[in-house]
């Protein structure tokens, strides 16, 4: 298995989409990966049953930051119902390269922050969000 850093990954890393903060977010959540110190914070604005705006900030490796940038594109403007369903497969598909086991935590950091946000906003049950957390 070889992780190659494709151009679109580096593009998301160098030029992250939906980067920054929202003025009045419905919810703001930060998390980090204790092993490598990668950090991601996310703002969601939920209006009606749609996520109408999303912003993130972070620092860390190309995989964690690009994956979060790609994730925000999947979230922006979607219905809450769709956003709640986003999972690891969606991230891996978006990255489009094999991710070595040691780097999975990097790839899924943004996803974890998203689901924490949804729980905090009362849009997702915690036990459902846990399904996206670490597993074997």
């Amino acid at each position: 298995m070889s992780m190659d850093y494709r151009e679109y990954i580096l593009d998301h890393y160098r030029d992250p989409r939906n980067y920054g903060r929202l003025e009045n977010p419905t919810v703001h959540v930060e998390d980090s990966n204790p092993l490598c110190g990668d950090q991601v914070s996310m703002d969601l604005l939920v209006e009606g049953d749609h996520v109408t705006a999303v912003r993130f900030q972070g620092r860390g490796c190309a995989i964690s930051q690009a994956a979060t940038s790609m994730l925000t594109e999947m979230v922006q403007g979607k219905s809450v119902q769709e956003v709640v369903r986003l999972g690891k497969d969606d991230i891996l598909e978006a990255l489009g390269i094999p991710i070595s086991p040691a780097r999975m935590k990097c790839a899924f950091l943004g996803l974890r922050v998203l689901h924490k946000s949804l729980v905090l906003a009362g849009l997702e049950r915690p036990e459902h969000a846990d399904e996206h957390d670490d597993e074997l």
Partner: protein
Amino acid sequence: MQDVVEVRREPRSVEEIRGDFPILSRQVHGKPLVYLDSAASSQKPLAVIEAMNAYYRSSHANVHRGVYEISEEATEALERARTKVARFINARQSKQVIFTRNTTESINLVAYSWGWANVKAGDLIVLTTMEHHSNLVPWQLLAQRSGARLEFVPLTPEGLLQLDVYARLLEQGPKLVAFTQMSNVLGTINPVKEMIAQAHAAGAVALVDAAQSAPHLPLDVQELDADFVCFSGHKMLGPTGIGVLYGKRELLEAMPPFLGGGDMIRSVSLRSSTWNDLPWKFEAGTPAIAEAVGLGAAVDYLSALGMDWVRQHERSITAYALERLQTVPQLQIYGPLTEELRGGVVSFSLADIHPHDLASILDQEFGVAIRAGHHCAQPLMEHLGLVATARASFYVYTLPEEIDVLVQGLRRALEIFQV
């Protein structure tokens, strides 16, 4: 002088030494393994693997109370390993060598046992900002429970300890000073002998974290006059699961036990017990016998190479690495830039490429194993203004050609990231 006729074996070539390490002939991702992470854990020579294997095949039984042949053999194997380690660090007596699981457990043993008996509210413990978490967190726990204070010796921009601050802290009469002999991040070698002498003059007990130094530098605990010295087997060619606490006898004798259980007692009644002699007072439960045997084989191997040779080899590899790394554009090295002041550990960052991305590229395209992260030294990372660094570290089997592969990989990473 009659020294000229002294029989000296020719130093073995590094290529020949590599032949002793089976793992070094394997490939990763279709490339020869270039193992540059020995500061995290060293690889093992056949001598160690086979010593452990032979022990399990022929002599294993529980130790110390068996009155049959193989139990006596196992006991002898354990105690012989202790003697080898004692000689390796020039301890006065074998009983001053206590087997633990690793450096972390050794330091915790002192923090709990000596710390609880001796450190009171308001007492001062002096550490440095370059400590590994294992020589920081046990003292934080002790300070939190006892009400003791922690103070830290800061670093110069080059990554050396500010010894003038150390001297001033000693004037406050600390109970204990604890510092590393070699930084696992910066590679800095600290002047521990002088620092211990100053600590003693100030009435403090001195603990040396030798996790990085015991594998790489000649270590003489009596010459250092250290009160406690802690190190791990697995960083010095030995197996995981075995570490050492060396202590001065009078200190160890006066300390209460750490863990209670079998082997550490003299006699037990329902409500009280009396303790076994050193070193067993601190070795509750069945010890890691095979691992001790492996560590004994490891120190034999290192002694045969000669620790002066080990240091010399690593100095030249480190000098070469420092020189070659500085040819890579946008590469920043942390810590002293002369090999005199540092061991075989080089931390660096490359442009704005995250160390984890670097490590992945080096692994997958070049078969190079380096470490990336905070190296269990977050306060030091904070001091450097970093979240993480990449770290290459060297040992007896490291070849200059491997540094070349590393440098080639770093240049490739610059290409991939279009820096």
